[in-house]
Symmetry: C4
Subunit: 264 residues, 4 copies
Amino acid sequence: MVKIKIFSKPKLKNPILIEGLPGVGNIGRVAVGYMIEELKAKKFAELYSKHFFPFVMLHDEYKVHLLKNEFYYIKAKKANQRDVIFMVGDCQSLSPHGHYEIMEAVLDFAEKFNVKDVITIGGLATGELEKDPEVIGAVTDEKLIKKYKGLGIKFDAGERVGYIVGAAGLLVGLCNERGMNGLCLLGETSGFPIVTDPKSGEMVLNVLTKILKVKINTDKLEDRVKEMEKFIKKVETLQRKALSEINKSEKAPVNEKEQLRYIG
Amino acid sequence: MVKIKIFSKPKLKNPILIEGLPGVGNIGRVAVGYMIEELKAKKFAELYSKHFFPFVMLHDEYKVHLLKNEFYYIKAKKANQRDVIFMVGDCQSLSPHGHYEIMEAVLDFAEKFNVKDVITIGGLATGELEKDPEVIGAVTDEKLIKKYKGLGIKFDAGERVGYIVGAAGLLVGLCNERGMNGLCLLGETSGFPIVTDPKSGEMVLNVLTKILKVKINTDKLEDRVKEMEKFIKKVETLQRKALSEINKSEKAPVNEKEQLRYIG
Amino acid sequence: MVKIKIFSKPKLKNPILIEGLPGVGNIGRVAVGYMIEELKAKKFAELYSKHFFPFVMLHDEYKVHLLKNEFYYIKAKKANQRDVIFMVGDCQSLSPHGHYEIMEAVLDFAEKFNVKDVITIGGLATGELEKDPEVIGAVTDEKLIKKYKGLGIKFDAGERVGYIVGAAGLLVGLCNERGMNGLCLLGETSGFPIVTDPKSGEMVLNVLTKILKVKINTDKLEDRVKEMEKFIKKVETLQRKALSEINKSEKAPVNEKEQLRYIG
Amino acid sequence: MVKIKIFSKPKLKNPILIEGLPGVGNIGRVAVGYMIEELKAKKFAELYSKHFFPFVMLHDEYKVHLLKNEFYYIKAKKANQRDVIFMVGDCQSLSPHGHYEIMEAVLDFAEKFNVKDVITIGGLATGELEKDPEVIGAVTDEKLIKKYKGLGIKFDAGERVGYIVGAAGLLVGLCNERGMNGLCLLGETSGFPIVTDPKSGEMVLNVLTKILKVKINTDKLEDRVKEMEKFIKKVETLQRKALSEINKSEKAPVNEKEQLRYIG
C-alpha cells in the first residue's frame, strides 16, 4: 500500500522533480524544505504507505500527524526557468522492499505530469567535520555530465563511495528504467547520527538554485534549519524508540511460572 | 489478508466508532469491553488477519479460538444519544505494516456504516504508579478541542509524548485521511508490563460515558477487569511465548556432526 | 504465492480432511504418513509456496526435490466408512503470516471437494519422557465432544496448554470460519528437539483408525518411523542450517579496509 | 514486484536456459559471464525486483546502476548446436520468499521462448582448498543422468550435500513443476567468503562447452575473472555494508535524555 492523494492537478510544463527526504545529515530535507518555503511552492499531493513506521506523531500539543511525504510545485516565472515538483517528507521506508514500492509509485505519479528530469539529494558521510563540504554528483547517463557541468558539482561519487542507499539512490536508479534523466546530488557531511548539517545543505542549495535559475536568500537558512531540525530530530528519535519498543517486545522474557507447555 | 465477516448489517444513524484493543495497561480493552457488557451491545462483525500471531487459543478446556477483533453496536435510546460501533479484540498486528493494512480495512468497513467520528483508546506509560491517572487527548483537527472540551480531557499529549504507536494512533491518523474526525484518549498508567490498570480504565470510561451521554455503573468494573485480565494476560503470555519459540527455532545451533556442506 | 497442483479430481463423497505436517515430535507426519502407506492412499495434488524455505533438497544422490505438502485420498470401502483426504508434507511456513496464507489456500482447496470435517494432528511437548502418552483433543464446537467421545481422546487441552501454534492450530481455527467442523489431536511427547516419537504417533494412529473405522496393522510402524525419521531429520537439519546461513550472511562483519563511506 | 524488461524478442528454436548468478565461489557468475563474452551473446532483457537490496551502485566515477539480472542469447551456428539463453546478474534476492517470486517470474519469461531445458550453476563449499575441483550434478529426472553422462559430471550431489540454496536450487526445483528438465551443476570450491574461484569456474565451463558443443578459449579466463571479481566483490561488500547499516539503525540506542514516554 502506497497511497498518493492528489489535491489539485496543476498544469505543469516539462517539470523537473526534486526529491529531498530525511537521510544522512538531512541535506536533502533541509535544502528542499527551505526552497519550498522561500519559493512559496504550493502543496498539491501527499503520499503515505504501510512501509512507514506504524505510529502517528503529535504536533502542537494535541494534533495527530500521520507520517507522510509531500509534493509541492512552482511554475516558471521567466523564460529560462522551469516548472518544478518538490518532494519532501517525514521519513523513508522501514522495510527494504518498501523503498522500491514507494519509489515506483512516485515515478508513476511523476509520469502523470510528464516528468523527464529527476534530481535527488543525499548526504555523503565522510566521518569528519567538513569545513568546506563539496557537492558530489552521480547521473544515469553520461550526457548529463555536460548538462550539469560548471555548477560546482564534482562527478566523482563512484570513487568516493560505492553506492547510494534508499530513496536518493533508488529514485534515480528506477527513473533510468523509464527513460527519465536522473541526477543525484550528495552533500559532504560528517555523518554523525542525528546531526542536521546546514552548511552542507547550503552548498547543495546553491547548486540547485543554479540549475533552476532561481534566486534564494539563504540568510534565514540557519534559523530555519534549527526549526526544521527540532522536528526532524523528533521523528528520528521516535523511529529509534519505536524500533527499540518493537525489539523489546519481541525479546521480552517469558515469566517461568507462566510458562505454558508448548504445542506444535 | 484482512477478513471482516459481517453477521448482520444493522441500520445505524451517524454512528461513532470507538476502538479499544490490547495495549499499554490495556486501558482501551478494559474500558470498551466493560461498556459493551454494561450496554448490552450486540456483536455484528469479526475481523481476522494474517498479520495476527500464527496460533489459536484454547478456551474452556477444549475449544479452539482464532485470534480476532470484534465489532459490536448499540442504538441510541434518547434524543441526545448516538448510535455506536465498538471495536475490541484479542490482539494487534504482529508486523509493522500489518497495522496499516488492518486499520485501512477497519475504515473501509466503517465507511459502509457512514462513520464520521472515531475515538481510539490507549495507555500513556508514565513509569510511575499513578494515584490519580489523567486522561490525555489528541485530535485530528483543532475544532474537535472545542467539541470535546469540559469532559476532563487534557489536550497536552504532544507535550508529554511524541507519538502514539499501533492501532490507537494509526486508526486516528488514517481516519483523518478520509475526512473523518478522530480523537485518541490516553489513560495515564504505570506501563509496567502485563499489568491491566482498572483505575486508568475507569477514568477513560468516565470520559466516554460523558461523550456518549450514557450511564454506566462502574461497581462491577474491578471484578470484571480481574476476569478480563486473566484472558488478556493469557494472550500476552502466549504471544511472548510464540515469539520466543519463533526466535529459538531461528537460533537453534546446528549439530556439528550433522553439519552438511554448504551449497549456493 | 501458494500453488496447489491438482493431478486428478477424484469424486469424493463427504470427505474428511486429515492433516499431519512436521511439528513437535512429528506426531502428525508419522501417523498420517503411515496411514497413507497402509491404506494405499493415492496422491492427487501437491502444494508449494514462497513461504517455504528457499532451498531444494537432494534425494537419491542426484534428484532435486522442491519442498512440498501433498494431498492423498482414499474412498470408503464399507457403508460405515468415509472418503478421506490426507495432507502430509516436508515442512510448514517459514514466515508467521505464511501459515495463514497456506491454510486459507488449503481450505479453498478442501471446499472444492465439499470437505465439512477437518482433523489436524500435533504434538504436545511435556518436557518429560512419556511412558503412556495420551491423546489430547480440542474442537471448534461443543457438539463435536459428543461426536468424538469414547475414542480415548482427553478433551482437556485448554487446561494443559494455552495455544496451538502453526498448521495444526490455524487449520482448525480457520476451518471454523467457514462453517467446517474441526478437531485437533495432540499426542503427548517429550518435545526434545528433532526427536520423532513413534509411541505417541501410534496412540494418535489408534484414535484415527477408530474415527475412520479402518483397520491398520501397526507392526511395521516402528520400522517405517525410523525410515521417515531419516528424511524428516534431514529437512529439519537443513532448515536450521539454512536459517543459520541466512543469519550468518546478515551478520558478516565488514572488512575495515574495504569499508566504504556511507551515503544515504 | 519483479519486472522483466524485454528489449527485443529474438526467435529462438528450442533454447536452453543457463543461469549463473553470484553465490559461493561465484562459480556460476564467472562461468556464464565468460561464456557470454567469448560467444558474443546479445543482451535482450533485464530483470529487477523489490527483493534486491535497496541501493544503487556507482560505476565509472559517476554512473548510477540499479541492481539487475540480465538475459543474453546466442543462436546455434552448427546443426549439432542449440540456441541458448544466458542469465547472469549482480545479486540474488534479499528476502527468502523473494527467491521464489523471482524464479517464478524467470520461468514465466522462459516459457515465452519455449524453454524446455534449464541448467543452473552453483558452488559446493568443501571448506578446503581444492586442487582438482570436481563438477557435481543434480537433476529433476533420472532420464537426465543418461543425457548428461560422459561429460565429467559426478552425479552424487545428494551424498555430499543435502540441499541447494537460493537461485541455483529453486530455479531447477520450480522448472520441474512446469515439466521442464533441470540440471544443476555445482563446482567444488573452498567456500571461503568473497573468494571467486576461477579454477572451479573453468571446470564448470568445460562441462558447459561440452553440453553446448561450442569451443571457448579459456586463456583469458583468469584475467577476466580478476576483472569480474572486482565488481562482484564490490557488490558483496556493499550488500554486507547495507545490511550492517540496516541492523545498526535498528539497534541504535535511544539517548536517555531524549527518551520520551511510551504510548500504545
